[in-house]
Structures are given as structure tokens and as C-alpha cells.
């Protein structure tokens, strides 16, 4: 029987290896703050830094090992310095109807009428926790807990680009058409991702979002 811990640092270590090129750092609520700090260091052995849900993956360039500077950054106490406020984006949404096929069902689940659901969803400011799934797909944190909803039992084969959706405790926006398992509550004309733009992704980790009903 193989030892599943072979090659991993000691149980108390700050990170765990994902092959020999990925360092998975548990960052919890400090993910965006640590991401800002680690990105700002410009360490030459790092090829990429990917924030996610409570963790950060640092990818080492091929053949590189963990330098003293990187080791120090990995074990540094979680920065309690507040993250500098990211850009605030106002995103206009057409809620419900054919643009948001699941809105009526979600409102019922939340025991409110559709108008109250929309008010509730557009009343708060969201923060981009991370991007993933598709290029430019934002995982937005800040969803009121009354609006949490488990993913759909069976994903849709095709979700339209610009669809605003709910998955668990996150709100997301589909940048491109394709399959999707989140509940659709509306749609925006905002172009979330365009590889030809100087800034391909509209939203970056740490940015803030407010939804405005069309």
C-alpha cells in the first residue's frame, strides 16, 4: 500500500505539493490579501499564481526549487493589511424571463417574490474572489446567505454568454456560451472576456461588482 503522504511536507507545513511544480497554500479568508502580496513580490522562480476558494496555487517554473525568499513568503503570517479596494464595476442585468430562466424557482426556494429576490441580489456589493471554469468567469463573493442555492442536479447543455448565475454561495457570470450547472437569474450585455483587449478579463480578483436591474 503506497503511503499517500510520501513526498509531501510535514502535516504542519504552510503548503502542499501538487506535483513538483505546484505549491498549494491554504489562505482561508486572507486569499485576496495573500494573492496581492505574493503577486507583488515578483519572485523569478514563479511562473503563475492562481487564487481560488480559500487557497492559492503557485506554479514554479520548470526545474526551479523553492528559494529562501519564496519560503519566507509562504510562511509569512497572513497579511491582515486590508486589500486595497479593487475597481468598482456596475453591471446592468436583465433579470428573469428568458434571460434568467431559474429566477422564479430560486425566489420560491428563498421564500420571496421575484421582485424582492432581485432587490436582494442587487442591493449588495460583491467582490471577485477568483476567476476560473472559463476564461474570465468570476466567482463573486458577498451573496446574501438567503440566496445560496445548490447547483442544478443536471447541468444545461448550453448557457448564453452574459448569463448571471448562482452556484452555492457564489454568484457568477458566464463569459461565453457553453454548458453550465449554475442557476440562471439574468443576463448582461457586458463583455466579460475578450482575448483581443489589452485587459482581456473585465473583472480581476479583488475587483468589486454592483448589479443594476435593467
Amino acid at each position: 500500500m503506497a503511503n499517500p503522504e510520501i513526498g509531501q511536507p510535514s502535516p504542519g507545513a504552510a503548503w502542499r505539493w501538487v506535483s513538483e511544480r505546484g505549491l498549494r497554500l491554504a489562505t482561508g479568508d486572507a486569499t485576496l490579501a495573500r494573492y496581492a502580496v505574493l503577486s507583488g513580490l515578483g519572485l523569478p522562480e514563479i511562473e503563475d499564481i492562481i487564487p481560488a476558494d480559500g487557497t492559492i496555487l503557485l506554479i514554479l517554473r520548470r526545474g526551479e526549487a523553492v528559494s529562501a525568499a519564496l519560503r519566507q513568503a509562504l510562511v509569512a503570517a497572513a497579511a491582515d493589511a486590508p486589500v486595497a479596494g479593487g475597481t468598482l464595476h456596475e453591471i446592468t442585468v436583465e433579470y428573469g424571463g428568458t434571460a434568467g430562466l431559474d429566477l422564479a424557482g430560486l425566489a420560491e426556494l428563498a421564500e420571496m417574490d421575484a421582485a424582492t429576490y432581485i432587490k436582494c441580489h442587487s442591493a449588495v456589493e460583491y467582490t471577485v474572489a477568483f476567476l476560473g471554469f472559463q476564461p474570465g468567469f468570476p466567482y463573486l463573493q458577498g451573496l446574501p446567505s438567503t440566496l445560496y442555492a445548490p447547483r442544478r442536479a443536471s447541468p444545461r447543455v448550453r448557457v448564453s454568454a452574459g448569463s448571471v448565475a448562482i452556484g452555492g454561495r457564489y454568484c457568477g457570470i458566464y463569459p461565453a456560451s457553453g454548458p453550465g450547472g449554475w442557476h440562471l437569474i439574468g443576463r448582461t450585455d457586458a463583455k466579460l472576456f475578450d482575448p483581443q483587449r489589452a485587459e482581456p478579463a473585465l473583472l480581476l480578483p479583488g475587483d468589486r461588482v454592483r448589479f443594476v436591474a435593467a
Partner: protein
């Protein structure tokens, strides 16, 4: 210039990859064996970051109206030239004006790379000429080549040097070397035993996003996980217990536990796996894997 007379199964313009956009949800992508493409580029006098063609399982028929300096690396394919001259791998050769190169089936392995003097001149997107099929951008119009396409090439070197390339020594046998974890603890003993001592087959539904495996189910203690960053070679296990080795165009985040990660030195072997191939996993320490990753191609002057 290159004319595509017949397209292969999936001919993709690739370079070394698109770096630094993981946080936007865009993986590095690029050639499945970047060192092999870089070697082919050196053979034709290009910089290692020039774009070439990645050819999978069944290749295209290409016509070179003005001729060209070319080189192939990677898996051997049945191949012919209209001049009847032999098609060699891992060395420089010169096509006469109007010559045709026909690549048929892969004889062993799955992918080869074609470099041409001057490189393929497609516009870079987000700093790379690599095709990213899942989102349809980069490379030649964001897609695989089709019959009738015409590829522009850059200005090649005037003098041609005939060179030969030698790949790094590759490990024979089916075992892929992995670093265990980071979520090995989310599997039960039977699941771990199945994974580390079992044998898997590569499924036909595999592509550059991931290699789907079939074999003894890897049973979980907990099948769910908050989305975490992942990289090529990470072995995710979804609730059905059948492992997926993430590929070059895989997602940058994933929500399934990662039982192990294939080391970078074995990524070129992932590039050569075909549907039906057998795969086993053997663990290796991180430090040993980092030393192995430095192995590289060597280039020598021919005669």
C-alpha cells in the same frame, strides 16, 4: 507559405504557451511537449519560441509553394514527400518549391511537431500564437486547420544548417511518476490501493483538456472540495472514481480532490498516450522530480 491540401485529425498552431494569465482563468496551454517543439525550431534556425504545428494521431497533407526548411519531432508518423525523398525525424531537411509533405497515421505515440523556417506567422493573442480550442482563440483563427487554409510563414534564415536533435532519455514502460497528494487524504484505503497499484486505460474521450482513464474505481472519503488551482498533470478524481489527468488546456481551477500529480519530466509521455494505452502510477519525491525536470534535448551539426 503553406497550403493545407488535407487536414489531419487535429492540427493546431502552437508555441511554448501563454504565460501569466492563470488568475484570469486562462491556462498556459501551448505545445503538449514544448521541449520537442523548441528542438524542432532550433533545427530550422528559429528561436525556440516560434510557432509550429502540433499534429495528433493522423496528420495533414501540406504543400509548400515556395519550399522551406522544416523539421519534425515527437512521435513517428507514416509520412511521404512528393519528391519521394525520405521523411526524417529530429533533423533538418529542405523542401523544394511546390513540394508536398503528407503525414498519415502515428506509428507509435500520438503527437508530432512540425517546425518551418521563419515560424508560422499567425497573430499573437495574449502574448502567444498557441491555439486555445476551449475558448476558440489564438493559433489559426482559434481552431484546428481545415483543407484550404493557407498559413503564412515568417522570414527564415538565409543559410541553412543541417542539424540533428537528440531527445532526453525517456523512461520505458507504462508507469507515470507522480508526487502523491495534495488531497490523497480524501480517499479511503481501498481507493488509494486501487490508484497506486492498479492499471488504467486511456479513454477515447481524452483530449488536450484531460486524459480520461478507466480502471479500478478510486473510492473517496469525501468527493467534494472547494475550487482550488490546478495545473497539467494533476490527477483529479470525480465522484465516479475514474481518474482524469488534467491536460495542457485544462481548467485552471477544479473542484475534485487531486490524488496525485504527474511530474513535469513525464508530461512529454502524457503527450504521447493514445486511447487504449495502459497507465500505472509510481510515486517519487519532490526533490528527485525537480532534478529530473532539467533533462533536455541536445543538438548537433550533421556531417
Amino acid at each position: 507559405m503553406i497550403e493545407v491540401l488535407r487536414a489531419g485529425l487535429c492540427d493546431l498552431v502552437m508555441d511554448q504557451g501563454r504565460f501569466g494569465y492563470g488568475a484570469l482563468g486562462v491556462p498556459v496551454g501551448g505545445a503538449a511537449d514544448p521541449a520537442a517543439l523548441a528542438a524542432a525550431n532550433r533545427l530550422v534556425g528559429n528561436g525556440t519560441d516560434a510557432a509550429g504545428l502540433e499534429i495528433s494521431l493522423a496528420g495533414p497533407v501540406l504543400r509548400f509553394p515556395a519550399g522551406g526548411v522544416v523539421a519534425l519531432s515527437g512521435a513517428r508518423f507514416a509520412a511521404s514527400r512528393s519528391s519521394s525523398a525520405t521523411v526524417a525525424w529530429n533533423q533538418t531537411w529542405v523542401l523544394a518549391a511546390g513540394e508536398t509533405l503528407a503525414l498519415e497515421r502515428a506509428e507509435a505515440g500520438s503527437r508530432c511537431w512540425l517546425a518551418v523556417g521563419g515560424g508560422l506567422a499567425v497573430p499573437p493573442v495574449m502574448g502567444s500564437r498557441s491555439t486555445f480550442l476551449p475558448a476558440g482563440f489564438g493559433g489559426f483563427q482559434g481552431r484546428a486547420l481545415q483543407a484550404g487554409d493557407v498559413l503564412a510563414t515568417g522570414e527564415g534564415r538565409r543559410e541553412v544548417r543541417l542539424l540533428r536533435a537528440h531527445p532526453p532519455v525517456s523512461l520505458a514502460g507504462a508507469s507515470l511518476r507522480v508526487v502523491a497528494g495534495p488531497q490523497a487524504g480524501q480517499f479511503d484505503d481501498a481507493g488509494l490501493a486501487a490508484f497506486f497499484s492498479g492499471s488504467y486505460r486511456v479513454e477515447a474521450a481524452s483530449d488536450r483538456r484531460g486524459l480520461r482513464l478507466r480502471g479500478a474505481a478510486v473510492s473517496h472519503r469525501r468527493p467534494e472540495l472547494p475550487s482550488q488551482g490546478v495545473l497539467p498533470g494533476a490527477v483529479q478524481v470525480p465522484p465516479d472514481g475514474q481518474p482524469i489527468i488534467l491536460g495542457w488546456d485544462g481548467p485552471v481551477t477544479g473542484g475534485y480532490p487531486v490524488i496525485a500529480g504527474v511530474i513535469a519530466a513525464d508530461w512529454p509521455r502524457l503527450a504521447q498516450l493514445q486511447p487504449g494505452d495502459a497507465v500505472q502510477f509510481v510515486t517519487i519525491e519532490v526533490e528527485a522530480a525537480q532534478e529530473l525536470a532539467a533533462a533536455s534535448w541536445s543538438i548537433e551539426e550533421l556531417g
